[in-house]
């Protein structure tokens, strides 16, 4: 569709788009009174009704509407110096719009040219393999000494260090056994499952660890499964069918 076909029905103007443009440029219609959003909506309606998009016409419309918006926003701005006003006369505005249209048109053509070039180059591919490592290295004769041998000695010294012996005295003798915790878990499972928190309520850290170990044993034996809906969430323990 061409812009001449765009019919508008606005409060202050009714008729084709390019007529509106002409009247605005001749200041026969006050741009300040035109709802440009309405113009855009009318355009979109027409596009929708047609179900097709003519890129050329669409671009032209965008350029024109953008120019009108800019013009309107200039008119709406309070003028700092009334003498200096930046009102464009009709000819100037027409020139500006024309310059914009020509510029946009020029780069649309340049874009087509570039796309054509890219397509014409289609058959030429380039090597992507990087050069072999041995060719990326400086020849041995030109290698300069940049590292300190002492760093190697220091690294060996670090590797010779034994870790400090772990203090073991804080570990008491085990107060619980896996067998005990297995019995505890099995008892809970017979009552229809439980959460891990329930299984270790009030227990100390060693007991929690041993219980977890017992739970792994149950899982390995196929007696129980568990699920945890979210990280750090509660763990639900359930008996499997074989387990019962």
């Amino acid at each position: 569709m061409t812009l001449a076909e765009l019919e508008l029905d606005l409060e202050v103007f009714s008729g084709p788009f390019d007529l509106m443009l002409t009247l605005v440029l001749r200041e026969e219609v006050d741009l300040l009174e035109i709802e440009l959003a309405e113009v855009v909506l009318a355009y979109l309606d027409v596009l929708e009704a047609r179900g097709e998009l003519d890129l050329e016409a669409a671009t032209e419309f965008l350029v024109l509407i953008a120019a009108l918006l800019e013009l309107k926003s200039r008119l709406m701005l309070p003028r700092a110096d009334p003498e200096e006003g930046f009102e464009l006369d009709a000819d100037e505005a027409a020139e500006e719009l024309l310059a914009r249209m020509l510029e946009a048109r020029r780069y649309r053509a340049a874009a087509e040219h570039l796309s054509g070039r890219l397509a014409a180059e289609e058959g030429h591919r380039f090597r992507t393999a990087p050069p072999p490592a041995f060719l990326r290295q400086v020849a041995e004769a030109d290698v300069a000494a940049v590292y300190e041998p002492a760093d190697l000695g220091a690294a060996i010294g670090g590797l010779l260090r034994h870790p400090p012996p772990l203090p073991l005295d804080h570990l008491g003798t085990a107060r619980v056994t896996v067998a005990e915790r297995l019995a505890h878990l099995r008892a809970l499972l017979r009552r229809g499952g439980c959460s891990f928190d329930e299984a270790v309520r009030g227990a100390d850290r060693v007991t929690v660890a041993v219980t977890l170990f017992a739970l792994l044993e149950l899982y390995k034996a196929g007696e129980a499964t568990w699920s945890q809906p979210e990280p750090f969430g509660d763990i639900a323990i359930a008996a499997t069918r074989e387990g019962i």
């Binding site: 001449a4 008729g15 084709p16 390019d18 007529l19 443009l21 002409t22 009247l23 440029l25 001749r26 890129l55 671009t59 965008l62 350029v63 509407i65 953008a66 120019a67 027409a94 020139e95 719009l97 024309l98 914009r100 249209m101 020509l102 510029e103 946009a104 048109r105 020029r106 780069y107 649309r108 053509a109 340049a110 874009a111 087509e112 040219h113 570039l114 796309s115 070039r117 890219l118 397509a119 014409a120 180059e121 289609e122 058959g123 030429h124 591919r125 380039f126 090597r127 992507t128 990087p130 050069p131 072999p132 060719l135």
Partner: protein, 190 residues
């Protein structure tokens, strides 16, 4: 082929990007005139229809590229197209950058009459354009990359046609100039 032409072939085979004549001269220890002569010899040996590769002058240097006859087989072997075509928005944005670089995003938006953020993002991602500092007003400036020249078969930006080539003929322009007013007058008169 002469030894220098052979060495140049090896260098261009290995180098990941086009190599300027000066760099080839440095690497081989010959002067630029001798290198240019040997490049001509290599170019003749790789003339279309003679070899699987061709010599190209691109992005300010020389490089080897596969011959177009092998494209179909290359697509089957490598299972990917060379480089996807550009959308109209990307091509327009790229054209504006190529002709006006360095150019800012707002300037591109002004010329296109519509924002080009997504097209600009894709072009940056594909390495066809890159950032080139900031304008006086703080907007990021964009320019094309050597990769753009390489993929579009250009030696330099000067290879692009003068954009006025696409301007409407003077008569057509004069007609356009009058168009807005004339259209309106015709309607007013009717």
């Amino acid at each position: 082929m002469e030894p220098l032409a052979r060495t140049l072939e090896a260098l261009l085979f290995l180098a990941p990007d086009p190599v300027p004549v000066a760099a080839l001269a440095d690497a081989t220890g010959f002067d630029e005139a001798e290198v240019a002569e040997a490049l001509a010899e290599l170019g003749a040996a790789c003339a279309p229809g003679r070899r699987g590769v061709v010599l190209r002058e691109l992005a300010g240097g020389f490089t080897l590229a596969s011959a177009p006859e092998a494209e179909e087989a290359a697509r089957r072997l490598l299972a990917r197209p060379r480089t996807p075509p550009l959308t109209p928005a990307q091509a327009e944005t790229l054209a504006i950058v190529a002709y006006l670089e360095p150019v800012s995003r707002p300037e591109i938006t002004r010329i296109r009459g519509v924002a080009a953020d997504s097209a600009t993002g894709t072009l940056l991602e594909r390495g066809l354009i890159e950032e080139a500092g900031r304008s006086r007003f703080g907007a990021v400036l964009l320019r094309t990359t050597p990769r753009f020249l390489k993929l579009f078969g250009l030696r330099s930006l000067d290879d692009l046609p003068d954009p006025s080539a696409w301007d409407p003929a003077p008569g057509e322009e004069a007609e356009l100039r009058e168009r807005l007013l004339r259209a309106g007058e015709a309607r007013l008169a009717s």
